[in-house]
Point group: D2
Chain length 314, copies 4
């Protein structure tokens, strides 16, 4: 836990889900005190200070303004609505309400990725000239994966580019800086129809054996971008990457070196810095994440237990 | 948390340390209710069911029998005393007291290592013929690392072989099975004297600038062993492995394949199974740890948050 | 050597270079019988059947038609002229002359890359949906690298895209198939001026300490392309990749698996095929190049000598 | 080719094999001028200066003294006889004859291994404290591999330890230095009988379907050794390593760093040198073999052709 949260006692108060049974399951598993089937219960409860929301993309723009208007701080999963316009509505509402507005860009807390952010920020790699960000996932690789809302543009605001692209573009911004220009975007729908859903929710949804419906958003997105700092880059997003269940990665190439991060190997960071070794004997270092990486300390208890002997507490 | 612990409420009750200030620091950080400077306070308290002990090796044989005699379940860090004889005293005492006696062989809960255990147990790799276990650490690599009790045989019961070897030998037992024979043991003290300690404790100990004392246990241990199942193997332990802060690993070679695990890359497991591909196109697979690995589910919340979208709860 | 060349006796006849001394050095080193400072000597010599040419890009269109008109078979280094129009002139001239016209796309003879070509061709990876080709080189990474003809568009026909891109685009064609469309091309000159050359040739050229001239072609090229088969892909080319001396690579993702090749690690090929292992235990295989890979046999003597015992000749 | 051989013209003169047909095949394939079925033909021929011999282990002690007595320089495949006593006979005979006596320790010419030799020799890694040498091969992994002379102690002088161990022990000597002591040797015969041979030779030998015979030498050898310089190490040799066709490797750990080489990945060398990066950001470098590695230049033509542009000749 971050030091600034020392002494803060967090009470897991209420789980809200229209499915009462599911709400109770979750509450039981994680130790929430109450459940509700309507968000209004939460809005009316003065004991509740903050609300964490994991909603289908299209619902944020309706729900969030009500939550912030009730004075609750918010933490939303990405993406924040169907498009930039919806996100702006939410951001403004939160600003006007004077509440904290956070989005769950969880990758920023991976120690090796945060270390990479630092290496760029402190100039170790020089000016970044070229980068590549990618997110390969396989949740849509099977032809029999049902056509949930994620595969319908009107409900999702985008396919791979919105779903996993949100994390990847945030990672680019985190490491290289703001994106100034999308030079080109090649969006491809490879699997053009899928079985209709037949009960179940989210990623556990079941498929109809007989009915199929059209898919109208991208399975693969291939973007050429340019950052405000002048770096050019490629961003590749695929939700049909057979054999890669879940891998977000970034490589950056600068005037003094390069580095590579992959979440499928998140305990390691590959870094090349020029001028380290005698000619012909230099090469990229494989750094194992450790206590000098940001955020590593917050999992120190877990890690130190694996070290075979107690770790002293400073 | 394991399913069998659902509904069990754990209260962090008392931190015991002769250093009152340190006890209070730890209690504050982790939320313990009380502190004490003597173990007797814990033994006398009927509210306390179980005691977790992280002691210098030589102290277990004195302390643990008192704790179990008071009817407390125990969880001790390894190694359980200075030698096998002391460990047996402790085991017998716990048996007589009828309490749970657990030792912190924490590596067994790493999903990829537990998956390797399964691959051997279910015969995927055939009969194991050869294995190599190792633990490379660098906590003693510096000539200026002070001569704490770890470097004194009478207080430690062994150097690398006792300290990090305990984990490694346990890993061999976990994956390949009981060790029937130590064919040879090459124990080497490379750094034969170290600065005397000058305040501070454990791995945060400070070094005297002027006084040095002798080291009389092993920096590197090189064992040839044989398991009850007939496999032969090497076990290498080094506490002076410059450049390898902390890496426990095992590779096993069987009649049908081989596998490799390294804790420095603990999200991955390398496995070769014969007969998978056309001739000349087979090779070891790099498996990324995921929800089908044992114990992975207990960290599911954390992992799923990194997946870019909610994970359904079964 | 390929089997179809068994019994063919190759005589290294004449080295042609305007620099007589250099021609003699090369002839001595490789065992050529003669030298010449003008190509006409070769054209007039009926003993010479074939000519191998390594020329600056702009010279092919002038020289090659004369060579083929003299009835010589040709082998040219890439790229075949400054642009597609020049290449077509050469191709037509060779066709009319009825001679063999080969270009030195040397990567096609790397066993692991040829094996990847096979895996795609035989359908092992299914239909290719996405690919990435890249060539990272550092020959232009230093600000002090002189402005040779490679950095002048009129003489080179392109920067990274022509020089190392020729190999990369050929590799894409070799593995995935013909490119039908270049959707976008982001060409960037990062180092916009370089020292003027001051003697020496080719990559051994020296730099002027005082004079600098402009660079007007691409240091980095970032292409979005589409193949005739419908696969989309990114092609990245950099001649200023600090820390990567020379690495051509390709990864392909298909409906049944994926594969990765990198020339910096050319003895290995990474391949994922779906459906190989029990759920959660599959992963990409690292295949070590061996005798079942194409062209491996042509270096068998060398490889087998490293195997510790003689290899039988079939 | 090494520079000292510039100007030396090597004539491939005579292939000797008791099997005339095989001798002719080999001669044809590699361009030898003559064949013979008896070594005496070679000994009597004054045109022949040097003889390269690839013989079953037990034959060297008989054949080589005759060859050197005839004044021929020799190059023998390893191991040089059945044991140290036989090797000494051969060495003395060559010394007395005043001829060059070379053994085919071919791994010493792999650029990355030669580079590792240099890193130890020049002190980059400090004093070597620990090392591990290994050779995993699978030529004996199948139960149906016939019982050739390699599996019979009297004809081989040793199993894995003699066959592939010769290369591995030489590699240890090359990198770490002479071995002063074999502390322990665990020799294991896992596959205790094999089908009798049924025609064919060497590694192409065929197996009898009905008859089997005993194996009396080691499939796996596990050695603990100590070098003259004081380093301790393990040497592991297996000829039944299912899934590892051919991999010789060595890792060395010194007071200033460590390094790892594997012939299955021979284009790369992994090296850690202490003190390169800021705390927590150091790690082992992966060095790609290049022109600064020893012996790399002798294959420069081949390598440079893969670089996409001509390489200047110095």
């Amino acid at each position: 836990m971050d030091d600034e949260l020392n002494g803060v006692k967090v009470v897991l108060h209420t789980v809200v889900d229209p499915n009462q049974e599911l709400a109770e399951q979750v509450a039981g598993k994680y130790g929430f005190l109450h459940t509700a089937t309507d968000i209004q219960t939460v809005l009316d409860d003065p004991e509740i200070d903050a609300v964490s929301m994991a909603l289908p993309n299209r619902m944020y723009v309706d729900v969030v303004p009500k939550v912030v208007a009730a004075g609750k701080h918010i933490f939303c999963e990405k993406p924040l609505g169907l498009d930039a316009a919806e996100a702006e509505i939410i951001v403004k509402a939160a600003e006007e309400a004077g509440v904290v507005n956070a989005v769950g860009f969880s990758f920023r807390r991976i120690p090796a990725l945060a270390a990479l952010h630092e290496l760029v920020a402190d100039g170790t790699l020089g000016d970044i000239e070229w980068f590549r960000g990618y997110y390969y996932a396989d949740y849509g690789a099977s032809l029999e994966e049902p056509r949930s809302w994620r595969y319908i543009q009107k409900q999702s605001g985008g396919g791979a580019v919105a779903d996993i692209g949100a994390h990847t573009l945030d990672t680019v911004r985190y490491v290289v800086g703001d994106i100034a220009e999308v030079t080109s975007a090649q969006l491809t729908t490879v699997i053009t129809e899928r079985p209709m859903p037949a009960g179940g929710i989210g990623h556990s949804i079941k498929a109809s054996a007989t009915e199929r419906g059209p898919v109208d958003n991208d399975d693969i997105a291939n973007l050429s971008v340019k950052t405000a700092s002048g770096a050019v880059g490629n961003v590749t997003l695929s939700r049909i990457a057979c054999g890669v269940p879940n891998d977000l990665g970034i490589e950056v190439h600068g005037t003094k070196g390069y580095a590579e991060f992959s979440s499928a190997n998140m305990d390691q960071l590959v870094v090349y810095e020029s001028g380290e070794a005698k000619p012909g004997f230099d090469g990229a270092r494989t750094i194992v994440a450790g206590p000098d990486f940001p955020y590593f300390g917050t999992t120190a208890a877990q890690k130190s237990s694996a070290e075979g002997h107690p770790v002293e507490i400073a």
